[in-house]
Point group: C2
Amino acid sequence: MKSKDKVTIYDISKRLNISAATVSRALNHNPKISEKTRELVAKTAKEMNYKQNRLAQALKQGRTNNVGVIVPYINRSFFSSVIRGIEEELTPHGYHIIICQSHEEAENEAEQINALLSTQIDGIFMSVSKTTQKTDHIQKVLQEHTPLVFFDRKIDVPGVSSVVLDDFRAGYIATEHLIKEGCRKIAHLSGDINLEIYKNRYEGYIKALKDYHIDFIPNYVIEVNSKIESGMQAINELWKLNEKPDAIFSAGDYAALGAMQELRARKIKVPEEVCVVGFSNEPFTKYMELPITSMDQTPQEMGKIAAQVFLEQVKKNSTLSIEKKVVLPPELLIRESSSRKIHNLSDAS
Amino acid sequence: MKSKDKVTIYDISKRLNISAATVSRALNHNPKISEKTRELVAKTAKEMNYKQNRLAQALKQGRTNNVGVIVPYINRSFFSSVIRGIEEELTPHGYHIIICQSHEEAENEAEQINALLSTQIDGIFMSVSKTTQKTDHIQKVLQEHTPLVFFDRKIDVPGVSSVVLDDFRAGYIATEHLIKEGCRKIAHLSGDINLEIYKNRYEGYIKALKDYHIDFIPNYVIEVNSKIESGMQAINELWKLNEKPDAIFSAGDYAALGAMQELRARKIKVPEEVCVVGFSNEPFTKYMELPITSMDQTPQEMGKIAAQVFLEQVKKNSTLSIEKKVVLPPELLIRESSSRKIHNLSDAS
DNA sequence: TTGTACGCGTTATCAT
DNA sequence: ATGATAACGCGTACAA
């Protein structure tokens, strides 16, 4: 048990009676090193089980090849899929991913950013928390000239790139779909309007109603969170009204699920009496006996594109940060919960 | 735009005409520093927007406060939940989590381990891939005296701690439950037996049959993967037999779901004609109109415990690694898919 | 209480 | 083609 200590290039250099510099060069495929020594070094390095200390290398070079990702929660299908996308795009470039959760708290978010910056990460990907209002912590990132890419949930900060869904369009498409199914009294279960994504979905909904000359009824808009119960409660609210809705467009899948469960409890038939559309294409939406129409956000793709934006940004190692805004198209996956003309089912994947 | 460069303790020391050492001590709350200078340093540090370079600190101290987690895929409810558990337990201790995916390839796994070791992580958490057979890469970790903790999927390596589910017991409980529901012809959709977890579930199944004096029928065991289709196919196979099963115990939820879909397509009633039990408590199992009985593995808890095992290991900075094996009890969540005596529903959460 | 000097493991610059 | 040396930013033993 003598070899507790890690072996360094010095150990190799001593063994071979050459300088550490030569070892370093040999290991890095420096063309000025003779083939002989290169191979010799490589061989003994393997023998001695040498592993480069990327810490020292990073300190020297000023970059760690680590990037940070901050999400509200990691164990949500959407976020973990985005992360997977980022990881798959960045791993081939030698990057590693450090994951942080904000737990939807702006405070945590700021702390995580500080921690990431102090570990000298080369970039930050982030989806802001619901409670984030101030941009102080974002400014810190920019001050350090650390590339920052928002995905899905962004806030507007000059100089920050973002990859988001076209939520306005998504809201429009969802609502339009319901209208085309013959619905006229369309309720909307909205998320917290402080988040751009929910605001945009809401506005898309409004716009579609307008375009199709359907009166907007404020009472038809209920704010929900991403819990099933809030969807149930929303139905309870809506069914107190004189004019019951004939469709539900929910800005989230969990609320949509809750709504469906409550509708079923009330013996209201979906989609015959009420059509339901959710949002996010959570896995469960398609596995249900009565699959829920939902909006796909191609999260893995979103992650990959975010990663590409980041890579572009570091390639051109310009001091000033480039701002790139990518907007992805949403895709409505029409399933039974909103499909009255069953034989027209355009998709059910 | 002059301040491209990060500010160091030297910058602070110059500004205050004191030595960098004093600054360092002040920042680290060294008791030998006067309160005055401590506050002065703290104040100007904040003013100058100083952030400690944890890279340099890590190089100096020999520890990075980063740990690595290797999972087959990150966007699986089970794994992302375990990661969340690890993260929640370790963040308060100042650790950060680096995530890697093996994509179920032993080769990737070995690469990821090398990469992690070279970044000098302080520990590794891992759930081995399906294809992992050799333990060479594991040995490397041990050689470097880096704490290693397996979770869920482990392989037996002396000196490595692990936190796993009692899969044998889980298999037993699931099968016993089906027997108590009156089933006698119980089929088993098994995972790849090369993985301990699936082997144990299988053996638990066998043991339960034996204890209840039910003949084991080899044809009732079908190997599936974690895709829905394989569950459908399994039903197709089973229904070619003369004696059709009256129950399905699936080692995975996706296969169980596929089985249920295929049963429904065949107009076979669940649970009246066939009872179904899945495994993992994937979110969708409880959201279905006909919720699926499933085995909960308390993944977040598993992550937390794995983290605690790691913390213990680093606390006692003993050179020799301690081996600690934690086995968690499974919890069967009985839902409609296997509940013939509906009023006895012990749970449906 | 504070300053000086060194080392962590690498790479880059300047010699040779 | 190879060697000597400085530097990255920090913490600490030793000195004062």
